[in-house]
């Protein structure tokens, strides 16, 4: 399919992309995006409660099974969740965000529990972490509920998600103990795709939209090869070839989507 290269579009882009004052009506898609986010935060809260309950009950297998599906809703709305850095870090940070890695007392949240479940094989020592995760997620939902969604942040979220995958997920660093990274990919792609679905119709350059949609289709085509049951096989099953392809697609989407705000007259 036709790939839109930035170089090729530069000439076109030199002129303003969207009618300067954006009489574009972004109100409806913003409202719809807000709905999408609240559905996902609700799911996140409910799923986290179940996950935390399993962790605290020492039901290791059950907790392991709930881990990836619970995170899915979080990954879909990551650009919004990340607006609250004081919650995003305790919920989703990784061991290497801390100087003492896994041994660091500040290392909490999903990945600390992932470490307990898959590596330590026990949970009795992390009940406080589990309680805190539930409290943090609940607080996050409350804050998102009261948030007015700035259009530039919402639209910019699409490339933020792709940048995230490109910078720190494609390598399989995110879910390194459980190897459930492909679930997170799915969440991030879904979240970015949602934004494109909602705002794409307002973009004038239809070739651009078609190219972005084509790249999403290729992403899903690749991910589909790794589906199993409700979710995905282990990240380790991802072949080098497919990892490279995903990496190129993600970077291309990140480049292209980095122009989305301008295309909608947002700055």
């Amino acid at each position: 399919m036709k790939m839109l290269s930035l170089a090729a579009t530069l000439a076109v882009l030199a002129t303003p992309l969207a009618a300067a004052d954006a009489t574009l009506d972004l109100v409806a898609p913003i409202a719809e995006y807000k709905l999408y986010v609240s559905e996902n935060t609700e799911a996140l809260v409910t799923d986290t409660q179940a996950f935390v309950a399993a962790v605290k009950a020492g039901e290791i297998d059950k907790a392991k099974a709930l881990f990836a599906p619970t995170r899915l809703s979080y990954e879909k709305i990551e650009p919004v969740a990340e607006l609250f850095a004081d919650l995003d870090a305790p919920i989703d940070a990784r061991a290497d965000d801390y100087e003492k890695a896994e041994a660091d007392p500040a290392f909490t949240g999903f990945h600390r529990l992932e470490y307990a479940l898959w590596v330590e094989g026990k949970t009795d020592h992390v009940t406080a972490v589990a309680d805190k995760l539930e409290a943090d997620v609940t607080e996050l939902a409350k804050r998102i509920d009261g948030l007015t969604f700035p259009p530039a942040v919402v639209v910019g979220g699409a490339s933020v998600l792709m940048d995230e995958v490109a910078a720190t997920k494609i390598s399989g660093e995110e879910d390194r103990y459980s190897r459930t990274d492909l679930w997170d990919f799915q969440g991030n792609f879904d979240g970015a795709k949602k934004i494109v679905d909602l705002f794409g119709p307002m973009v004038e350059d239809r070739d651009f939209v078609a190219s972005v949609e084509g790249n999403f289709a290729k992403v899903y085509e690749t991910l589909d090869k790794y589906r199993e049951g409700e979710g995905f096989v282990s990240y380790e099953k991802l072949t080098d070839e497919d990892r490279k392809r995903l990496s190129a697609l993600v970077n291309t989407l990140a480049e292209d989507l980095s122009t989305l705000r301008a295309r909608l007259g947002l700055s």
Partner: protein, 432 residues
Amino acid sequence: MSPSPSRRAVLGGLGLGLAACPFSLGLARAETAPQAPALTAAPQAGASSASDRIAPQGRFQAGIVTPRPAWGLVAAFDVIVDTPADLERLFRRLTDRIAFLTSGGTVPELDPALPPADSGILGPELRPDALTVTLALGASLFDAHPWLGPLRPAQLTRMTGFPNDALNPDLCHGDLAIQICANTQETIIHALRDLIKNLPDQLVLRWKQEGNVPVIAPQAPGVVESARNFLGFRDGSANPDSADAALMERVLWVHDAAEPAWAKDGSYMAVRLIRNFVERWDRTPLAEQERIFGRTRITGAPLDKRDGTEADVPDYAADPEGAATPLDSHIRLANPRDAGERHLMLRRPFNYSNGVTKSGQLDQGLLFIAWQASLTDGFLAAQTRLNGEPLEEYIKPVGGGYFFALPGFGPGPDDYLGRQLIDAIGHAPQKT
């Protein structure tokens, strides 16, 4: 001696206005210097300028016999191509960027609501700054596609470890190596970021190493010395004369009947990331250091002509026991000077300095880059002879790969790097 060795010929042509003295490597000794290793001469302060321009077009790619500027990098990529048309598109896009970057010009100004058109690190006006961008293909690219496999250069293989190697898989191989060289670090970084930004759908970065060579104070007219590596020795003294076109034809440029026709005027590129244990080296007696290389540290003179210059040629026949130049010294093993031109290669390395190892030692070394018409007779033969050399105690190859530099491209609007290969795909004999 020939009055106009490489430096003046090449730089003069570039309008660098180098001093007129034709000699290289020591005035008085010039007549004893059959070679003019100006290719790897230390750059002199004030001699280069941001307006130095090296045309990318030509029978050969730029960046091989082009005098080495102060900065260089090699970045290895995996490429996303499924069809010959994809590969052609990759080559054409790369050629476009290379043509733009090496000539300089105004960076397009975009709507401020957009990400800017480039990284901005060179400001709004790009100047060529002696930039060269050289493309070379890895064996994995040919192996990945049945339509490309039959066209693989005959000696292009995947690098395998030598006895002293500790190869890190994250620093090895690649479908495509891009060598970028320029006067300054910011120019090579700008070019690399430009390529990555403009071709995200076809280039996936595997590894990258940049390096530089020390810029020395301005010398008297005609005085040229090889740049020093991180072991403190002049490196490049015995390089074949890159200004001797006939010699380069034999040593560097592929035209062997055993090679696919498209590969003519290309060259094999051996890249090695070789860590130097510099703390240990600095604790080694000078006399031993010199015996390890076979040259003196200060002048680079061969040990059998200690008072000479780096341009002097050692006489091994007169020293069969290795009394002056030990038999296992680096230069004597690398080139015993007993096979004529057969084992020559052109070395054009850079020094790298990366950070600190887990043990608290400096992670420094050599971004070794060697070019040759025959990988077997050049790099592989030399490295095989060097296996077990005393220098190994101080070095550790950790990465790199073998690549094949494409032939050059012409100035015509429809020519591009890699066209010979793309044309050949159309006529490739089908494997039966």
